[in-house]
């Protein structure tokens, strides 16, 4: 079973994003970028399935500017076999991402697609579900456990009240949640090896996909800041404040 993994180049999780001065977008110049953390989990899961003899080739796909090659090289250094970049300097919103991924799926014919559940930049949490919808495939979102069983996939999902177990008919789309696994650190020799792995590049037009944004950003702004509070000396003062000042207990 071939596995396709989608990886996004996103702002590093340690960086606090700020709006540009003119409110037209988020300041990304000279900001550290990394692979979206949930996508690392997705790549790791694909590799573990391969190591367990349950998956064949792993193809990593990224969509965005030329710099996404770095993200693909990271995925390949982790263990993906090759990379596909759909290169665009324009904004690509989740629906267009899903359409581009579908076009790649049509070419590659994987048995399983794994995505991160959400990118930590736009926090949309849409792409995997949209891709499954476009393909007419089953979807296992927010997965914390994935077990192939013949032509089906057992998925344990993180849901609001606890865990849900479902069985999906393959091929399927899975989105990775936090506890699915802990991604490995990339070792230097593997970084060198990854440079030699094949990486194909397409333009959205090559794949026949219109990526015109459907959502127009009117403005971006910082939320109202919380007024700073006070330090209390001890629990007695804290309880007194909560009872008499805030009146919340």
């Amino acid at each position: 079973m071939k596995i396709l993994v989608a990886v996004k180049r996103a702002i590093d999780y340690n960086v606090k994003a700020r709006p540009k001065a003119d409110g037209s977008g988020v300041e990304l110049a000279n900001v550290k970028m990394s692979m979206n953390p949930f996508d690392e989990i997705a790549v790791e899961e694909a590799i573990r399935l391969q190591e367990a003899g349950k998956a064949g080739e792993i193809v990593a796909v990224s969509i965005g500017p030329a710099a996404c090659q770095e993200t693909l090289r990271t995925a390949m250094a982790m263990g993906a076999d090759r990379g596909v970049l759909v290169q665009s300097d324009d904004e690509v919103q989740p629906l267009a991402v899903a359409k581009l991924l579908k076009a790649i799926v049509d070419r590659e014919q994987p048995g399983l697609v794994i995505c991160g559940k959400q990118a930590i930049d736009d926090d949309s949490n849409q792409t995997g579900q949209m891709l499954a919808g476009l393909l007419g495939w089953a979807q296992g979102t927010f997965a914390c456990n994935v077990t192939p069983e013949g032509d089906t996939l057992a998925v344990k999902r993180e849901v609001d009240g606890g865990l849900q177990s479902i069985t999906l008919k393959l091929p399927a789309v899975v989105t990775a949640d936090l506890r699915l696994n802990e991604p490995r650190y990339v070792k230097l020799p593997n970084i060198m090896k990854a440079k030699k792995k094949p990486l194909d590049t397409f333009a959205p037009a090559d794949l026949g996909v219109d990526i015109t944004p459907r959502l127009k950003t009117v403005k971006v702004a910082e939320p109202a800041a919380r007024a700073g509070g006070v330090k209390v000396a001890d629990v007695q003062e804290l309880v007194a404040k909560l009872r008499n000042e805030a009146k919340v207990i």
């Binding site: 930590i120 979807q139 993180e158 008919k169 459907r214 950003t217 509070g229 330090k231 309880v239 909560l242």
Partner: protein
């Protein structure tokens, strides 16, 4: 123009989050209907008909709707979408699972996690862990929306007079099967709906030490939450997680214990009315959002707090 709100329920009662999604729908210029898709869900339909302001209550009752599987629910919503300008649901794990599939099938974008309605086509949503608020305008004919429940005050569960109408079920897609669920059993209030939340972080040091968080929570009648670091470390299950990638909460009182205040945690709780932080590191970022900060060893301060509250 009318909106359709997809209700969340367990086939017996309406999930409170639906009332927040209805609140967002109520701010649009048209009215709204509710969709109840489930199995043997008549009681939910009756409850939905009472929701303040509701027009029609559409009921699709079939065995394959019992567990809100996206592969079955999405085609049903799509079959009804032609009568509506907006499709909304609460940003619960169910809502997040189903709605993007609906949007893709309709070839429209989705607006995730809105916290404000500017007009019928323009909405406010947090991005980058809530550090930035984006105002976005949709150019699509049908707006598919998930609603962050903390952004809208729930409408009244009673006072409405909706008309219940059965709608045809679509065929079982046969792509997915519900096997079972392990729901966290707790006598404490639900995290998303609690008035008071006590959350623990990596500072707790172990799963066993979480007992002091639970003791404090029980004294206050509070729900128990956790930071991603505590979930990562295996102290508590993932459904305790408050933050960008967990649950977003806005209780009256939020007590953060041994939580440093990473960006991703603040994203999930900074809309709380009153925030208390207990942490030994006085430089911890959590103190920047806390109304009341107590610098000290949590293993000393939390038991002392329990004692002071018990008085």
């Amino acid at each position: 123009m009318t909106a359709l709100v997809i209700a969340e329920h367990n086939n017996q009662s309406l999930n409170a989050a639906t009332l927040n999604a209805v609140a967002a729908a109520s701010q649009l210029s048209g009215g709204f209907d509710l969709l109840i898709a489930g199995h043997n869900c008549g009681a939910v339909a009756d409850a939905a008909a009472q929701v303040a302001g509701v027009g029609k209550v559409l009921v699709a009752d079939a065995p394959h709707y019992a567990h809100a599987l996206a592969e079955n629910l999405a085609p049903l919503v799509v079959s009804l979408a032609g009568n509506y300008t907006h499709l909304l649901t609460a940003s619960t794990t169910n809502g997040k699972n189903v709605m993007p599939r609906v949007a893709a099938m309709l070839d429209v974008a989705q607006l995730s996690d809105i916290i404000g309605v500017v007009s019928d086509d323009t909405f406010v949503r947090p991005i980058y862990a809530g550090n930035v608020l984006s105002t976005v305008q949709s150019t699509d004919g049908i707006k598919v929306i998930t609603v962050r429940t903390t952004g809208f005050d729930a409408v009244a569960a009673t006072g409405g007079a909706g008309t219940i109408e059965a709608v045809a079920a679509q065929a079982d897609a046969g792509l997915s099967t519900f096997v079972g669920e392990e729901l966290t059993k707790s006598s404490r209030p639900e995290l998303a709906a609690a008035d008071i939340i006590v959350s623990g972080g990596r500072g707790l040091g172990s799963a066993e030490n979480f007992a002091i968080i639970e003791k404090l929570a029980d004294l206050l009648g509070a729900a128990v939450g956790a930071s991603r670091a505590a979930v990562d470390a295996g102290y508590v299950p993932n459904d305790y997680q408050v933050g960008q990638t967990g649950k977003c909460v806005a209780p009256t009182l939020y007590i953060a214990v041994g939580i440093s205040g990473a960006i991703q945690h603040l994203a999930g709780m900074k809309d709380s009315k009153v925030i208390v932080a207990i942490n030994k590191d006085e430089e911890a970022p959590i103190f920047q959002v806390a109304d009341y900060g107590l610098v000290g060893d949590l293993f000393k301060e939390v038991p002392a707090l329990c004692e002071a509250l018990a008085k």
